[in-house]
Symmetry: C2
Subunit: 290 residues, 2 copies
């Protein structure tokens, strides 16, 4: 998905958020933001939104001299996920269709995304859960369950810290020996890193790798050989969240996208209302041409 | 009121909106926006938000080669105001307290503001009216009515096109011979100009002047001698909207502010929730010291 001009105010908001997380001295915040603006005046707007976001957050980190502006935010995300995990696990076990409930909860967890929302805004996780439980997902859940059962190698591409606990609920319903769980290769917004996968206990459950890139999505040409190998070898890819959708939606691969379409630009691109709980399959082009 | 860093994403959004109104060619839009970013990288962030907004909209107009990007938007605002005026006038006449109803409707009309909202968003004018009718304004309406009755020279500072029709409803309840109605001196967002005051029939009702400045507020040091004269001579100033509040809130003058606090930064500055229907008095410092 291309970067639209209407993404730009959101990038500025993200830069502002990131700056505010690194320092509370207005003069320094202003200095960093001006640097961001200068770069935006020169930058190539081509590429997907995560490629732009990657550039902007790098400017902020470099200018502010910090490695990870969102480290505390991610701690809060993990605390939220950890707190919710036991009751959600119980809800899955007691539900009529545990796999389906786990899928719905994994999508709901995608609300924990500070690329779209301000970190100071309250995340309505309870609301997201209840909406996900009743969302009309059509027949895709059954198709997804069948595909998971039939696949030999599954690559589950994570999105955010905290959301990892919701991913774990779904991973526990999958054939773990077939699954590789991939996180980002470096700090970017509140996207999950290896440490966050560990926090959620996912490293004890499935093989976990990072993708070697600090874009807030999956920019294949930036990814490590290890990740590319896992991607190519997988006969089923599970893609969580907006950033992965933005970067993988045009890739020729069998991908199930699980996300909350939080941003109006992405919702329009997909053809749904903003806020929609989504599960959909993008079959490889070779298959859809049959 | 100073410009806060969190105003910056909003300025970028405004620039984007203004660019989109002048051309639908993405390459030109991108070029103009990059110019805005370059300027934002150099700009002095001092001054009130309207001073910043004035600079940004000038960049867009100059780069896009247009005199008034919002001319069609203002036509739509005037059409909306004109359409609503008769039934609202009837509502005022039939109400228990016509002056108070007119005040409430004049504040509701401040929702027609494209500095805060996107011009593509639907304006919930009906909702704004019903909320304004029941809003808790305390004893200030009575105080305002007394002040209007006691004043010798009243300066009513307008905000937006279309809102002018709502202003007219209030002006009709005032001693018109004492009132001067002031609009902006040049095109800026959907702010009212002389033409918009004429459209609403206000020029037939009271003396109308422009302030000589194209800031989306009242930046006194930029204003014409005529406006400054009217401001200094007035023993009561009525200030509509956010831009006028942002620029006049620290001026030593008896001012009644009538506005919808639409933006969260302004709402925080005032100490209310975003969206609040507001009528409040800022007495001159010399009086409050008594």
């Amino acid at each position: 998905m291309e970067t639209y001009l209407e993404c730009l105010p959101c990038f500025v908001r993200q830069a502002l958020e990131a700056v505010a997380l690194t320092t509370d001295i207005p003069a320094i915040q202003e200095q960093v933001l001006k640097q961001v603006f200068s770069e935006l005046g020169r930058i190539d707007l081509g590429g997907t939104p995560p490629v732009m976001g990657q550039k902007i957050h790098k400017i902020v980190r470099d200018a502010a001299g910090v490695k990870d502006a969102y480290i505390k935010v991610k701690e809060q995300c993990n605390t939220l996920g950890r707190k919710m995990y036991p009751e959600l696990k119980k809800r899955i076990i007691e539900s009529e269709s545990p796999f389906e409930t786990a899928v719905r909860l994994a999508i709901a967890g995608n609300i924990i995304d500070f690329g779209v929302k301000s970190h100071s805004e309250v995340i309505d996780i309870e609301g997201a859960i209840e909406r996900a439980i009743v969302a009309d997902l059509g027949d895709v859940v059954a198709e997804f369950e069948t595909a998971v059962g039939a696949a030999n190698k599954i690559l589950y591409i994570a999105d955010n810290a905290g959301e990892t606990f919701f991913d774990k609920l779904l991973l526990e319903r999958m054939p773990c020996e077939k699954v590789t769980y991939a996180v980002r290769g470096g700090p970017i917004i509140n996207d999950a890193l290896i440490a966050d996968a560990e926090e959620a206990g996912i490293t004890e459950l499935v093989r976990v790798i990072d993708n070697g890139s600090d874009a807030p999505g999956t920019v294949l040409e930036q990814c490590s050989k290890e990740f590319r190998g896992a991607f190519d070898a997988a006969d089923l890819v599970i893609s969580k969240g907006q950033g992965n959708y933005e970067t993988l939606s045009s890739i020729d691969k069998d991908i199930f996208f699980l996300l909350k379409a939080k941003c109006p630009v992405i919702a329009r691109h997909i053809g749904c209302a903003a806020g929609t709980t989504l599960l959909f399959r993008k079959r490889p082009i070779t298959v859809t041409k049959d």
